[in-house]
């Protein structure tokens, strides 16, 4: 486990979160209970000098909704500051991503908290709009207005 992984693990333990660590893939996995959606899988990938966190929407977007979800994601990403929404066009998987660069240094706990927590909290916020698109046939513009006001 490299020092970045040690620092991230220290944070996860400080929050008393249950997680798994795959040493071969340098990957932490956990499930977070959220508000707008029940829960989300969170993956924290540790690189040599970076950490990327992904919070996964539990529902894949079916093919006939991917166009409108792409537009929703583009609208969301235009206004977001910290991280961005992504969708895999092959299978409709949606996730929120944050990334930080940490070459030759150990990030402090506040920094890790910011990147990890923002990731799943922002997914939760924007998930509401996504669910409205998928299950209430809302347009991308209307769905964004629900989330962003």
């Amino acid at each position: 486990m490299n020092m970045l992984a040690v620092a991230v693990e220290h944070y996860l333990q400080s929050q008393e979160w249950h997680y798994k660590y795959d040493e071969e893939r340098n990957l932490f996995t956990m499930t977070m209970g959220l508000k707008k959606i029940d829960s989300a899988k969170v993956y924290i990938r540790i690189g040599e000098d970076y950490v990327t966190t992904y919070a996964m929407l539990p529902t894949h977007v079916r093919e006939d909704k991917r166009d409108v979800v792409c537009r929703y994601i583009a609208r969301a990403n235009y206004g977001l500051r910290n991280g961005n929404l992504e969708m895999d066009l092959d299978d409709g998987e949606v996730r929120y991503k944050t990334y930080f660069y940490a070459k030759d240094r150990i990030p402090n706990q506040q920094e890790i908290e910011r990147y990890v927590d923002i990731c799943f909290l922002t997914l939760d916020r924007y998930a509401e709009g996504l669910m409205k698109i998928l299950y209430a046939d809302l347009s991308d513009k209307a769905a964004i207005q629900i989330v962003e006001g």
Partner: protein, 141 residues
Amino acid sequence: MNRLAEAVERSLRRRGWDYLRQGADGPFLVVGDLDAAGRTEMRVRAADECVFFDAKGRVRVPEEARDAACLYLAQENYGLREGCLIMDPEEGGLGCRAWLCAGARTPGAEEIDRFLDFCLMELERGSEGLQRALYGEEDWD
């Protein structure tokens, strides 16, 4: 000037870039020309213990092409690490943004350079790729 803004300014000076500081703590504006993105404005802002990078070029996606552009953005953004391509939903302006959260520390020049370079290179790549995706080999104009 706050320490993050100072760190940004040091980076810009080290690169020998002309810039405009638009306030006591920035944001900093750098203007230049890229091949595909054209005249590009890079804004770097230090606020809330973070540094935000925002590059915008001349590319304006016409309304009838924005659905296709959103698909292209989704494809390009999937897997990017440092930031993402963005498009103004009202005007179709293409951009690239990234951010770093510094907290109580002062980021080094290499870190700031990394995000500056990412924004400019990705905007250029995205502009070229989007043009090809929408119009083949034709120019935007």
